[in-house]
Chain length 286, copies 2
């Protein structure tokens, strides 16, 4: 059996009791380590599980999935995924590959940022589609997220923006020379995301889908003891410092509930500003 | 401290290791038992925790929250929620009440149907807002879900429909006579949901947001060993039997990915029909 086991968001104890039992008895244990990361190191997981953990990078999962699946028709293989196993497309691929090899699969669900974002007090049924924000490069500033946000905004919904992480990345030079030297991991911050969003709105699209005064919420380390929430305008969030990764951002839709305001205002960068923008642009809107 | 502890979806072992540690040391343990249910009885939870569990019904949570919060400024109280703690609005209320009493709170995230629905192979970033479907009564057939679905459909997105559960419900007669006699619990099935959706489309709204030939996916007992997935047209799902609760339904948006088709077709009521409707109405649509 191939078990896809969700690890939740923060540390080794966010695995479920059921998931832990599977990990402890599996023949091999892989950790998918490129679509998201836990806030603890692999060694801490290994100590907690009492088992070695094999890091599965993108290349292994996408090109060498048969290696992961080897023998899984007879013994148990655990494939650990940060968050929920079905948060990322790539795991659907792995299950399809297992199916074609007649390897049975089972998924052990866990928390995902897609629902844990409810920690902001924003109502989950008010969210539209989720978008991703990648690190802009000098010559590559993809704006496709903007059209998705525009769709959500058109029907008044919040948008969760998931922020880029870069792990095991080679510099162009090292790649060209075939040197397996990797850059230090990078994680996009709420401030970087807010700035990129405003750049696309103000310099490229100019459709007024959102402005520097639109309200947004930044979160960091959701589910951890030092979870942090900051609410403010996109302009304000360009200067917000939420500390170490992982960060996410929510752009508010106009269809809000007063409970959302009440919950969020405690986390406002500037409570007065937050209240006045809320009253002007959000309160009572449908 | 008030801990809101997510229990996940299926049984007592879906709690996280962190959540279980909190439950074992809390002064009192409440179980919210009206927005969702686990697939096991309270006694099974108590045996697993080694602790008594107090059932918190809607009335207690909404009207007597101070009872739950009593002493939580000095000792630990665990409030268990099926799924993720922030899946339902009512828990935001409880946290706000705690805040006003200076009771610190912490939430322990867990799996929610909002992400575990990914078990269908449908891509989570293709989902729009979530809607709820209540049991229709003779004279009360609320159609507000329809307008929300219409919004999602207009931008090509999938819609997760959460199905009504009725627990601790009094008959009108018993209520009138003040008798605290409760009806047996009721859980809406995928078939009932599909039929109610078609009734509103065909007899009330007639806007063509979806038809009897629209593709949908029914799921039951997500995360449990006997999890079941059935894909088909809304018409076909009117006759689908997915067994015991809980059920949920997804109406597909036209913006699909071929991986979704490949994953789903294994679960189709009628594979040929599924393939032909997909090809006609979904494939390559944006």
């Amino acid at each position: 059996m191939l078990y896809l086991v969700g690890l939740g968001l923060a540390d080794e104890k966010d695995i479920t009791v059921k998931g832990l039992e599977i990990v402890k008895k599996a023949e091999r244990v892989y950790l998918e380590a490129y679509t998201a990361i836990l806030l603890v190191e692999k060694e801490q997981l290994e100590a907690f599980y009492g088992r070695p953990v094999i890091i599965a990078d993108r290349e292994m999962v996408e090109s060498s999935s048969d290696e992961i699946l080897a023998g899984a028709d007879k013994t148990d293989v655990a494939f650990l995924v940060v968050g929920d196993p079905f948060g990322a497309t790539t795991h659907t691929d792995l299950v399809l590959r297992a199916r074609s090899l007649s390897v049975p699969t089972r998924s052990i669900p866990n928390a995902s940022i897609l629902t844990s974002i409810g920690t902001t007090g924003l109502q989950l049924y008010n969210f539209g589609q989720t978008v991703s924000m990648v690190f802009f490069l000098e010559t590559w500033r993809p704006a496709s997220f903007y059209d998705r946000i525009a769709e959500n905004v058109s029907i008044g919904l919040h948008t969760l923006v998931l922020l880029d992480i870069k792990v095991k990345e080679q510099s162009l030079e090292n790649m060209a020379r075939g040197r397996l030297i990797y850059e230090p991991p990078r994680f996009m911050t709420v401030a970087q995301c807010a700035a990129q969003m405003l750049e696309i709105e103000e310099e490229v699209k100019k459709e007024g889908v959102y402005t520097r005064e639109s309200l947004a919420v930044g979160v960091a380390r959701v589910g951890a003891v030092d979870e942090k929430i900051v609410a403010g305008t996109l302009g304000e969030l360009c200067d917000a410092d939420l500390g170490r990764p992982l960060h996410s951002l929510v752009l508010l839709g106009r269809r809000t509930h007063d409970l959302e305001r009440e919950f969020l205002e405690e986390f406002a960068v500037d409570k007065e500003k937050f209240a006045s923008v809320w009253k002007r642009d959000y309160e009572g809107k449908q």
